[in-house]
Amino acid sequence: MPGESVMTGRLHPDARYFQIVALGSLLFINFSLIDFGARPLPSAVAIGTALLTQLVCSRLAGLPHLDLRSPLITGLSLSLLLRADALWLYAAAGGIAIASKFVFRLDGKHIWNPAGLAIVVLLLTSKGVWISPGQWGSEIWFAALTGFLAILVLGAARRADIAIFFFASHVALLLARAWWLGDPLGIPLHQLQSGSLLIFTFFMISDPRTAPDAAAGRFLFAFAVAVLAHYMTFFMQMRPALYFALIILSPATIMIDRLLPAKRFNWADPAPQGASR
């Protein structure tokens, strides 16, 4: 598995560069070709606030290096997913996301995926926020899926197996439901074609800084999130169920890591821990 390989950042370029290019391209497509609802100013505010918060928090925490790659990915994800009726809410999202990494941490990793947590906090506390359903159309969806998978296959995104575990679990549950209902295959295939599902799979649940350390733990966690999200979607009719399922279950990674211990992930490996957040 790529995550467990001895390949390190020295041999492979940092996956985050590819991720930034992929998300940036999607945002560019949104502005120039096919509108899926992101707007330039809100996007700039979300990204800018995320970067700024990283800068401030890194200083406060006394980190030796300022690393802007992760907050840029968070800001881009928020731009693609979050919709709000006021500009300050985008700033709040960027701020909450990045600050949460510095506040909620345990044993050298943060508990919640930053963008996911910001989305859930704002959905619960603000009346002016909703989530883009991510209807990008088939062409963009397949192109994005191919691109994101390519990043995984390049081996650059370590511990990316969790994305595959989650996606497979999600697909299996949708197929099982269709089989149980007697629905044609077109229905689960159509249900998969959501852009926000792809961003969730490849950028949130697969965040190596929050995923369980052991491969078995990652599988267990991915499956649990898929089951909870499925239940919330189809039995509770909750629409942005993926984010809620992830945030609810994230604290369980602490227990999973105790039960199934493995080497802790760090972007900067083999550099000393704490060099980057």
Binding site: F36, P133, G137, M236, M238
Partner: protein, 442 residues
Amino acid sequence: MRYGVVHWLKTGVAAAAILAHLATGPASAFCGFYVAQADSKLFNTSSKVVLARDGDQTAITMASDFEGDAKEFAVVVPVPTFIERKQIGVVDPKTIDHLDHYTAPRLVEYHDEDPCHPVMMMLATPAAAMPSPVHDVAVVKRYGVTIEASYDVGEYDVLILSANQSNGLVNWLTDNKYRIPQGAEDVLGSYIKQNMHFFVAKVNLERMKGLGNNYLRPLQVRYQSPKFMVPLRLGTVNARGPQDLIVYALTREGRVESTNYRTVKIPSGMDIPLYVKDEFGPFYKALFERAVSRENMRAVFVEYAWDLGWCDPCAAEPLSNKELVELGARWIGSADDGAFRTNRYSGAGGADAFVTRLHVRYDAKSFPEDVALMETKDRSTFQGRYVQRHPWQGPSSCAAATSYRSELPARFAQEAKTLEGLTGWNRTDIVGRMALTGQPIK
């Protein structure tokens, strides 16, 4: 004798008289003439659904272009809960027509000013022509179908059914003279497993005669459920070609969009040639068809999204509180004949209503699952609006007039190009028609 099961959206509405309304747009904001609209009657096999949604409370009002014999009319609608008598009603078809006219794509026209005497002239907005239980509540064991209730509702006999297997339900419906299309069994089975109930209605001819109506009124069902969707699937079984559905969503917070299909705004705001005024209907139809094919028939189109408290320009008189309540917007707090006015901007709180008009062309292949909807917080306004600019025709002779006239052919050429792009109409025809209506392109 068999009742034809017109799939669920095909509730009947006889063609209602088109009422003439005065446009009452605020003259200060709008200085164009509202001249034509493309209402839903343009599209064949179109159904209209009004969905009023407040929290988990939904009222769905269904109307269609059913024009057959009333005794042939029947409808089967999956609903998420059991429905009591007080949750069912009939609606005056004119109310839906009013909402249709109010939200329809519109053509507006402006007149260029004298290039020699530019004045800031505010045109007044002109008048615009515009158009009791029958059965015992019973468990029918043999079919696995439960008749949970039966009601008399106006001209309709309504049954609420639940079932534990789809073939039982199909057999029951068939034995009770409902004609169920081939292939409906799988879809019904899927709804049964999702614990849906079935709202089944057919026309009681005697009561219809007693009421003195010669048309069928739209049926309304109200229920409380987190499910916010439009059940299309039964309608796609055995359908002859694609169908059109127009959803008018009434909400408190903001625009409604689909969560499982792309929601796309219809092209809007372009300047188009003057001759289109006489064929605005065919124009909009061609534009819509082109938009549908550009999205491979996999999108839901927004034709109108606006706060119901105001409009600019108004394509019809604003809806009254009474009409909005009739259509299910019971949260607005008043049901009088006065025009709906929002309190939003006065700070008084209370009434808030937003309307989103969604237009879907669908078939089983491109819309495999029911359209799921969500209410967003987006209150930004949108309308399908097309603009005509009449050139100045007066006998002006000044330097400004000369340059104004020299720029006109380029402007007309741009309008021809826009029209061609929007509709796919033949360029030569467009240019020829424009030349005949005073818009020559040299």
